[in-house]
Symmetry: C2
Subunit: 190 residues, 2 copies
């Protein structure tokens, strides 16, 4: 098997290091050291740390279990729960560390770096749209009786999930995720 | 009037700089430069940047409008809405930048610095307890009919607010706060 290209090694390392340390604490040298490539090689492949962060966000998006929302073999609210359960399991597997790349980048970098702010906004919108479609299905098949607009419920849930991560990183005991599932599925999605 | 002590100047500057730049991007030199004091004076007053961050978190707590929750002249749900409106106004006044110090520190530093993690956890618990008491009052006077445990609703709302800030820092258009108010007060607190 051919060895991963230098570019690929850098993206893999950046995915790990940005997620673990956040945007500001993760410099180009940490990324290239972690990738096992010379620091000088970085700028052959990326214009800036910021440009690499956008590539990492795209790759992170592919791991966000959006496929679970589209699985037509299950009822919409079952899919939605499975989607959030999978997201929660990923974070539990990291000991409630690392959080969500979108939330991390929004918190750390959106104020100061327009391209990252725009990347996060687009990623959250894409995610919200997928949840909106699922909620709309549940409204159409009658499993959700709430007359509240699907898009408003979806935006609220995406944000509430990001906030549950904030709470969980402080408590690291599962309490904020448990609270999310109770209120989201027993109160909001009724 | 006596001049603010060096310690006080450092705390004032740190409050501003941590809030604006986050934990990792804000070093001791940025704080002392911003305070207009020699970098060397820092360690006469604080053992570490981490120790100063805990002082800043305490001071931030005093600005979180918890007094609005205790104002017995208004019905509990009116107070609760006023509390979140005041928090939102503070963030809007900063152009949807800076976010919440608790959320920022949880996201950036809780994984790596146990004292900060514990400080954020305590601050979120204190805030949750104040909201729990307000929700319980609303359940007792019948203005809230939800039988869901007050503490679960309170924890959920605190996290949902933190997440609304994550969304707002990316969109900076008020949409996440508007969504929070709609779902929190029309759906969750019914």
């Amino acid at each position: 098997m051919p060895r991963a290209s230098v570019r690929e090694q850098i993206v893999d390392a950046a995915f790990e290091q940005f997620h673990r340390h956040g945007y500001n604490a993760c410099g180009v040298k940490l990324i290239t050291d972690s990738a096992g490539v010379p620091k000088g090689s970085f700028y052959n492949h990326f214009e800036s740390k910021e440009a690499l962060a956008l590539v990492v966000m795209d790759r992170y998006g592919e791991t966000r279990h959006l496929d679970k929302l589209a699985d037509a073999s299950k009822p919409p609210l079952v899919r939605l729960r499975g989607h959030f359960e999978a997201l929660g399991q990923d974070i539990e597997d990291f000991g409630y560390e690392r959080g969500c790349v979108y939330g991390n980048f929004s918190t750390e970098a959106a104020d100061h770096i327009p391209a990252i702010r725009e990347g996060v906004r687009e990623a959250l919108d894409l995610w919200t749209n997928a949840i909106t479609a699922t909620i709309r299905e549940a409204q159409e098949d009658g499993s959700l009786t709430s007359a509240q607009e699907a898009e408003i419920l979806a935006r609220f849930l995406v944000n509430a999930w990001e906030g549950a991560i904030v709470g969980e990183r402080a408590a690291k005991d599962g309490s904020s995720f448990a609270t999310f599932f109770t209120v989201a599925f027993e109160v909001v999605l009724r």
